[in-house]
């Protein structure tokens, strides 16, 4: 029978393990989160006295063109990036999973854009897609196209440019997740399908895709959340422009907070972002329970 003192000692030892991480986590993550929620209901410019705002910050968003553009663009960006990344990473994973030679090489290569620093790859991307002299448009001219896209400089193409760049940068990451999923499929299923005389497409459609539904669900959730949070890609490729063509939610938070020092509005937008992420997370919880 352990004495009470020994019990207390054990508890203290346990807390001493948690403490270094928890203190940092509480001060620099938990406190700001609570502060962020409170700020959404306050007026504050960071230096003058704080005033109660109630729901005013949220009401103002309804007439805020910047915010409305940012919300729309974030949704368009997500709607474009998620399916494209999902399909290309799935196809790439299936290709790599065919027992081919040089598999590791191809895997490393496709993972490379993901680890490479964004600033550097965005710089190359901007040059390659330079509307007047970049190699992509030069190639299009040579192939006989006359109306070549203006890419990041054209308001109709800017979002497409960002979506293409995101797919290129992130598909390698999700491909790895798909590869792991593919390895979990029972090979007997393919053997049975082979005996039934199915072709490549049928095996993909009726064995691979359904067997991967849990992985696809996970990838979709991760990708969606990642897209809602997009900022740095936009900053480096289009700076939110032309006009408001690629202004996204985090860009709007940044502008409201650190350019106009309207911290209440910035936090209200942050809460909208949080609500979007929360909805997706809740869907994930429900979906996971169903899949299990």
């Amino acid at each position: 029978m352990p004495s009470k003192q020994a019990h207390i000692r054990k508890q203290l030892v346990a807390y001493s393990f948690i403490a270094p991480n928890f203190i940092g986590f509480a001060v620099f993550t938990l406190v700001p989160i609570v502060f962020a929620i409170a700020l959404a209901f306050l007026h504050w410019d960071g230096s003058n006295p704080i005033e109660w705002a109630g729901l005013a910050n949220f009401r103002n968003l309804l007439d805020d063109d910047q915010f409305k553009a940012a919300l729309k663009n974030t949704i368009v960006y997500t709607a474009g990036t998620v399916p494209l990344t999902l399909i290309s990473s799935l196809l790439l994973a299936v290709l790599l999973n065919q027992g081919i030679k040089g598999r590791n090489f191809f895997r490393t290569v496709s993972f490379f854009p993901y680890v490479a620093s964004l600033v550097a790859v965005a710089a190359v991307w901007n040059m390659i897609f330079n509307p007047s002299k970049g190699p992509v448009n030069m190639l299009l001219y040579t192939l006989g196209f006359e109306n070549v896209p203006g890419w990041a400089a054209d308001k109709d193409w800017a979002m497409i440019t960002i979506i293409l760049f995101s797919v290129w940068k992130y598909m390698g990451y999700y491909m790895i997740i798909y590869l792991a999923g593919l390895q979990g499929i029972n090979p007997e299923l393919y053997e049975a399908a082979n005996l039934d005389g199915t072709n490549v497409w049928q095996r993909f459609r009726y064995v691979t895709v359904p067997q991967l539904s849990a992985t696809t669900f996970f990838v979709m959730v991760m990708l969606t959340i990642q897209c809602f949070k997009v900022y740095d890609i936009v900053y480096m490729v289009t700076q939110g422009g032309p006009g408001t063509a690629t202004l996204v939610l985090v860009y709007d938070i940044y502008n409201k907070a650190f350019i106009s020092w309207n911290l209440g509005s910035a936090s209200a937008v942050a809460m909208v972002l949080f609500a979007l992420v929360l909805i997706v997370t809740l869907i994930q919880f429900r979906g996971n329970r169903k899949l299990q």
Binding site: F35, F106, M127, I176, I177, D232
Partner: protein
């Protein structure tokens, strides 16, 4: 049978063709980058592309060190990355040990708190966090970036998942031998958790090295800047010095490339397990 093998051959050919196409799409921008980094600004955009410059301008790689304080940027980033990674590994594995192997009041609730914040994007609370750091006088200090990055909930979660897979009997036996919990952590758990520690190392390293928005908010003084924001500043100031921009970009990529190629196995494992656990 003959038909079968011809069909297989065609499929294999198409397969490789597709893969090579994908690999080219992934790699060509990097090749173009290296090639452009060795050219004069006026030759960067010549078309058809001259992949191997006839007159490689190696001076670009010397000039960038004097045009911008690239050395300072790299030193700052390396310092931040090493400190953050060490702190992250130590505090996460330490806390994860308690969550996985010790009994204490409030354990599950506390862990739930950690997991819940993984879903909370940093961008949601970056503004109040900045205001708070500023009031602590941490604006324009490297300490701000360290505090920002070093105590992630993700690290604790990852390490805890790994420790759960180590049998409890191992700890029990050590306790009976009279080992303290701290020694069990240091002498039994840490050596066993090398794969998880490697995964966490590479994730933290790449994240900290490549972080952009954090340093952009906190570090405005030139001598404090990291490679990413320094490079970005250079690009916007000297937007037409194409050769130099590309040379600086190549330099900024090298450390991550080295870490990635040497720890690749753990990275792939880490991504894959994160995916499977959901």
């Amino acid at each position: 049978m003959q038909v079968q093998s011809i069909q297989t051959k065609t499929i294999t050919t198409i397969l490789y063709a597709l893969l090579i196409l994908c690999a080219l799409a992934m790699l060509l921008p990097f090749v173009w980058m290296v090639s452009a980094s060795l050219k004069l600004d006026k030759d960067v955009f010549t078309f058809p592309i001259e992949w191997i410059p006839s007159n490689p301008r190696w001076e670009n790689y010397l000039e960038i060190w004097t045009t911008i304080p690239l050395g300072t940027f790299i030193k700052n980033t390396a310092k931040l990355t090493v400190i953050v990674t060490i702190l992250q590994l130590l505090t996460s594995s330490f806390a994860a040990y308690a969550f996985a192997k010790l009994e204490f009041k409030g354990r599950d609730l506390l862990f739930l708190g950690y997991v819940a914040t993984i879903a909370m994007p940093w961008q949601v609370y970056m503004v109040p966090q900045f205001i708070m750091m500023r009031s602590f006088g941490l604006n324009n200090t490297h300490l701000a970036i360290i505090f920002l990055q070093a105590f992630s909930a993700f690290g604790v979660f990852l390490m805890k998942q790994f420790y759960m897979s180590i049998p409890d009997e191992l700890c029990e036996a050590a306790r009976i031998d009279g080992m303290s919990e701290y020694r069990i952590w240091a002498q039994i758990m840490l050596p066993l958790s090398k794969p998880a520690l490697s995964t966490l190392t590479i994730f933290t390293f790449v994240n900290t090295w490549n972080d952009f928005l954090g340093p952009l908010l906190y570090l405005t003084r030139m001598e404090l800047k990291t490679v990413q924001i320094g490079l970005r500043m250079f690009i916007s100031q000297y937007s037409s010095e194409y050769g130099l921009i590309m040379a600086a970009s190549v330099v900024a990529l090298i450390p991550v490339v080295i870490v990635f190629l040497s720890l690749q196995k753990f990275f792939v494992q880490g991504v894959a397990t994160a995916g499977l656990k959901g």
